[in-house]
Subunit: 266 residues, 2 copies
Amino acid sequence: MGHMTLSAPATDRALLASVRNAARVLRAFSRAGQELGITELSRQLGLGKSTVHRLVTTLAAERLLERGSTPGRYRLGLVLYELGSNVTEHVDLHQAALPVLTTLRHETGEMVHVAVLDGLEVVYVERLESHNMLPIFRQVGHRLPAHWTSSGKVLLAALPPDELTRRLADWRPVAQTPWTITDKNRLLAELAAVAKRGWAQNNEEGHLGIASVGAPIRGRDGKVMAAVSVVGDSARMRTMMRRATSLVVESARVISRRLGYSSPPA
Amino acid sequence: MGHMTLSAPATDRALLASVRNAARVLRAFSRAGQELGITELSRQLGLGKSTVHRLVTTLAAERLLERGSTPGRYRLGLVLYELGSNVTEHVDLHQAALPVLTTLRHETGEMVHVAVLDGLEVVYVERLESHNMLPIFRQVGHRLPAHWTSSGKVLLAALPPDELTRRLADWRPVAQTPWTITDKNRLLAELAAVAKRGWAQNNEEGHLGIASVGAPIRGRDGKVMAAVSVVGDSARMRTMMRRATSLVVESARVISRRLGYSSPPA
DNA sequence: TGATGTTGTCCCGCAGAGCGGAACGGAGTT
DNA sequence: AACTCCGTTCCGCTCTGCGGGACAACATCA
C-alpha cells in the first residue's frame, strides 16, 4: 500500500494503517477543537494531501466527520457523539453517580467531578458546576496530569505497584505551580499515604488558588475504576476540609455500592 | 485488497474499505450496548473472523475500543468518550443550554431534553431528569423517529420544503401508538402548522401516556440547529400545557440568544 | 488585471497492505 | 476423549490505498 514514506520501523505489524490514520485524523480534530481543512490536517499528520482527503471523505461518509460551516472544512460528526454516549463503562458509572453527585454538590456548594485514569492523565467524565464558577475546567472529556489533582492521586494510588512504576518510568513532571509534586519519590510517598487513608487532597498543586479532595469509586469487582472529587477555591475549601473529606469519602462509598461493590468485612 | 467477497457494486469508489469497516465495528458496539467477541462481530458484519480480529486489534491499539471484563471481549473505549465530548457543535450548545434547561426543569418539574435531527430521527444530546422518573428515555445519544416526538416535529418543520420531501421520499412510518402520525399528508400539514406557530406538541404519538412540547433553537446564522422539549406523563402535562408551552418557547429563545442569534425585527 | 499564492479535489501507476481460508490452542460440554 | 465453540495466528494472492502531481476555484498581492 504505497511507498510508506520513510518511517514504519517494522514494529506493530498486523495493524491497519488506514484505520490508525483515521484515528489520528479524529484526534487531530479533537485536539484542535475547531473546524479543519485538508491541507492543515495533512501538515499536522505528515500525510499526503490526497491521502488525508480520502480519509476525511470516508469518515464524513460514515458521519464520524461532517462538513463544516464553510465548504472544504470539516468537524467531528454526530455519530461520534452517539458513540461516546454509549461507552458502556461510563453509562453505568453515570447512572450510579449522578444522583449522589447532585447531593454532594448541594452539601458542599462546590464543583463536583468524576474522573478516570488514562496513562498518567485523568479524564473527567462527569462534572457538576458550582454556583461559584471556576474558570479552569472546561468540560467533560477534559484531561489533566494525574499528579496535579486529587482524583489523579487516588487513581494512581490504586494501581498495582509494578504497574505504577512502569507508568512512572517515563514520567516527565511539569511544575505547574510551586506546590506541584515533581519528585518521583515524594509522589510515591504521597500515593502510599493516599492508598492507606483512602482519600487524597490537592492544595494548589495543579492551579494556584484551587484545592480539592478525592476518593476512590470501586466497581463490583472491587477494582478502583474512577474517583469523585470536590474542587473549589482554596480559601473556601480550607474552611470545610474535614467536612468535605468525609462527604466525598461517603459519596464514593455510596456510588461504589450502587455499582454492585460490597465493601469487605473490616 | 483481498477478494472483496461479492458485493461492492462499483459504487462509492475512493472510499477506504477498512475505515468503513472500522466504523461499522464501532457502530455494532454502540448498537449492542454490551461487550462483544470477535466471532459475534464477524457474523453481524459478514466479514471474515481474521479481518474483524485485525480491525478490533487496531481499534483497541488506538483506544477506540478496550478489552472488556472477560478476555477476548471488547467494548467502546475511553477515547471515543473524549471525541464525543468534543463535537464542537454540541460543546457550544451544551454551554448555552444547560443553565436554561436547569431553570426550565425546575419551573415545570418535568424531564427536559435537547435533540438534534439526523435523517428522520432525533438524537437526544442533553437530558435533565425529572423527579418523576419516566422509563422511556434511556440516555443521551438515544434515538427516536422524529415524527414520534415534539422535538422531531420542530426540527422537521424547519427543513427547507424540498429537503423535507426528499427525506420523506423513503419514509416508512411505524404506528407506535394509535395516535402516531402515519400519513404523509397529515404529517406535512402538521409540520406546516408547527412551522407557523413556532412550537410543536406531541400527545402520546410515540409512547402511550407520554406527552411533550418542543420549540426550535437557532444558531447565530439563524438556522434551526436543535430543539428543546419538556416531556412528561400526559395527564400531568395536560394540566399545564399552556404554561409549559410558553416556558419552552421562551427557553428556546433564550438559548438561541445565548448562541448568538438575534431575532429578526418582527 | 495578471501574477502568485492559497485552497480543495481528482487522477493514476506501482507495490505492499489487507483480505479470507485454514490451522492452532485453550475452555467448556457432552 | 471426542466434541464444539471461542480468540488468535499464519500466509499467499490480489487489488486497494498510497503519494506525486495536475487542476480549478478563490484570495491576495502589485
